[in-house]
């Protein structure tokens, strides 16, 4: 990614997002249930947005997780100018001094489930990103050790995807005869 690309997308984002509503860290800002603040960064800018978040004093990445929206089309809580995709990365940050939280929701397309890793900015995102990789198959560029963490290394599939079937193992009662 060259610098030109970055500035271009930033400019686009602002020209689209700025007039329609509030903005934080160059991204559309919305209020979720109970007044929680949520920003919707574009995937290409994730590292720059996260840099701004860190630069603003949000020193702790408290949570990283993902959602698979395969069977939940037509979400209404995505602001205009953001195209809903199948996967969504959800990361929360804490500013200890101002006692604030911010949550970022990044759309990740099904065809290319990759996003920049936060681990250089927030080393604490390490296990959380590994869990997302394990459970959703989203890869993180720049992660130092992107491997499965909860499932066995030889496991196939990503269990928290909506198309990963939950199966029941038939239990046969033996030894009763």
């Amino acid at each position: 990614m060259t610098d030109d690309d970055v500035t271009d997308t930033t400019a686009d984002e602002e020209s689209v997002a700025a007039p329609t509503g509030p903005v934080a860290f160059g991204c559309p800002l919305v209020e979720s249930a109970d007044g929680q603040l949520v920003i919707h960064p574009a995937r290409d800018e994730w590292l720059l947005v996260a840099s701004a978040i860190l630069g603003d004093g949000f020193r702790m990445c408290i949570d990283v997780t993902a959602v698979d929206f395969l069977t939940f089309q037509g979400r209404r809580d995505v602001p205009e100018g953001i195209l809903p995709e199948r996967f969504e990365l959800v990361a929360s940050f804490i500013n200890h001094e101002r006692r604030e939280r911010i949550r970022a929701r990044v759309q990740i397309p099904e065809g290319d489930p990759t996003i920049a890793s936060l681990t250089t900015l927030y080393p604490g995102a390490d296990y959380l990103e590994r869990e997302v990789f394990d459970m959703f198959g989203i890869s993180f560029d720049g992660h130092p050790d992107l491997s499965r963490i909860l499932m066995p290394e030889s496991w196939e599939g990503h269990p928290l995807r909506k198309d990963f079937a939950t199966g029941a193992i038939p239990v046969q009662f033996k030894g009763t005869n």
Partner: protein
């Protein structure tokens, strides 16, 4: 605005404004990041099972083979369940290490998507099995935020009572296991004995010693039983002298101090960069406690101190937990004084089942009861994160609702899981015997790590 005055008919485009203190611009260049705050980042081993097996099988060739790869756990008495550690040892000191988890993974987040909101607490309560009320609480708070449901004051205070009693029982368990890990085996018996007293109170209130499913969306499952004050009062009477015994047995004892002081030291920047929360973070001197800093329930109406450490070593983590038991008792005293009267759960019939007597006389009550227990109640579309200060740190619950009776996605941010990241840093260049003290000081509950 002249334009809107001139055209009153025009639909007012509602531009929501959100007041916030954050920067509005994205960064123009990538921040150098916080990796530089980790002085021992190279102590984190990045090696897969396969690579480790290859390294282990490689023939010893020359004098460069100075370190030894070693496996510890997953079934080891000091690993609190099924935590496994890959260790690279130089003699008796740990050079690099990697915690390996997942042995208890049963897909509880996936299970949560198949359970209604009323069944949800039965699932999450099994995650951190030493502090089950906190799991139920985080889940219930998240659901209530999505619904926008106000719960009665008494329910809030009952929840606080159970949370603080649970913090006491959880920290008592830590006292027991920490002592056991470090060779103070009699401490194991004492800690368990006191914890059992608290669990008896839980049994009195909820019917179960653990995994209570007591805190539910809308309030709590049942009102406090007759005699609960006596039961709590008795606990508050017997605990202080026993904590004083712990001080004699451990806190002031030279062997204990030698064993813990200066072991597993971590700095504040390091802890924050590694997303550590709870006593692990507070031991480094960061006064961060969600009960005080982002109050939930009615914690802003009780007085208590946030206990912080100075050195960030294993002794601080022990002392913080011991004193948090005392602070929790202080809160419980205030709860006893302030416990309001009223309903123990919301009276919204769409969310909470009607009282038993109503079912006999009212058709609607019967229908509501039936709907709640078969289909479940519907929760408005949206997403929410609710966090509570569990004995181990920030326990968060993230729920996405698609408007149906079951969560579309339910994620639990388990503090044990994230706190485990600090292990390689704290164990670096320490003795393997100290590694045991370090694991113990993080107090991981593997049910919550693996979920």
């Amino acid at each position: 605005m002249a334009v809107t005055d001139a055209e009153p008919e025009a639909p007012v485009v509602e531009v929501p404004t959100i007041e916030h203190n954050m920067a509005t611009e994205a960064a123009t260049e990538v921040h150098p990041g916080q990796v530089g705050l980790l002085p021992r980042n190279d102590a984190v081993m990045r090696m897969s099972e396969v690579q480790m097996a290859e390294r282990a099988d490689a023939p010893l060739d020359d004098e460069n083979d100075q370190t030894m790869l070693m496996n510890m756990g997953p079934s080891h008495p000091s690993t609190h369940g099924v935590l496994r550690l890959m260790l690279e040892m130089d003699g008796e000191s740990v050079v690099r290490s990697k915690p390996v988890v997942g042995y208890l993974h049963t897909g509880m987040e996936k299970t949560g998507e198949a359970l209604t909101y009323l069944q949800g607490p039965t699932n999450v309560t099994r995650m951190d099995y030493a502090a089950p009320f906190f799991n139920e609480l985080a889940f219930s708070l998240a659901v209530e935020k999505l619904i926008g449901l106000e719960i009665p004051e008494r329910a809030t205070w009952i929840r606080m009572l159970m949370s603080e009693m649970n913090r006491i029982s959880s920290h008592l368990l830590f006292m027991a296991t920490n002592g056991m890990d470090l060779g103070a085996v009699s401490m194991m018996i004492y800690g368990w004995r006191e914890r059992e007293e608290v669990l008896r109170f839980f049994e009195l209130v909820t019917g179960l010693r653990m995994n209570h499913n007591y805190i539910r969306p809308g309030g709590v499952a049942a009102d406090l039983p007759d005699g609960w004050r006596d039961s709590v009062g008795r606990l508050l009477d017997i605990l202080p002298p026993r904590l004083a015994e712990y001080d004699i047995l451990m806190t002031g004892q030279p062997i204990w101090r030698e064993r813990l002081q200066g072991v597993g030291v971590m700095g504040a920047d390091e802890a924050i960069a590694l997303s550590a929360t709870g006593p692990v973070l507070r031991s480094t001197g960061v006064p961060w406690d969600l009960r005080r800093d982002m109050p939930y329930l009615a914690y802003d109406e009780v007085e208590f101190d946030v206990v912080v450490g100075t050195y960030g070593d294993a002794f601080d983590k022990y002392a913080i937990r011991l004193n948090e038991i005392r602070e929790s008792m202080r809160i419980v005293h205030q709860i006893l004084d302030k416990m309001p009267k009223g309903d123990y759960r919301a009276t919204d019939t769409k969310v909470t089942p009607p009282p038993r007597a109503r079912i006999d006389e009212s058709m609607e009550a019967l229908i509501h009861h039936f709907k709640i227990f078969t289909e479940g109640f519907k929760v408005p579309e949206g997403e929410v994160y609710a966090a509570v200060e569990s004995p181990r740190g920030e326990l968060g619950c993230y729920i996405v609702s698609d408007g149906g009776p079951k969560p579309y996605r339910m994620h639990i941010r388990g503090p044990s899981f994230i706190n485990l990241q600090t292990l390689p840093h704290m164990m670096s260049n320490g003795l393997i015997a100290d590694a045991v003290a370090v694991i113990s000081s993080v107090d991981p509950i593997m049910g919550e790590v693996d979920r």
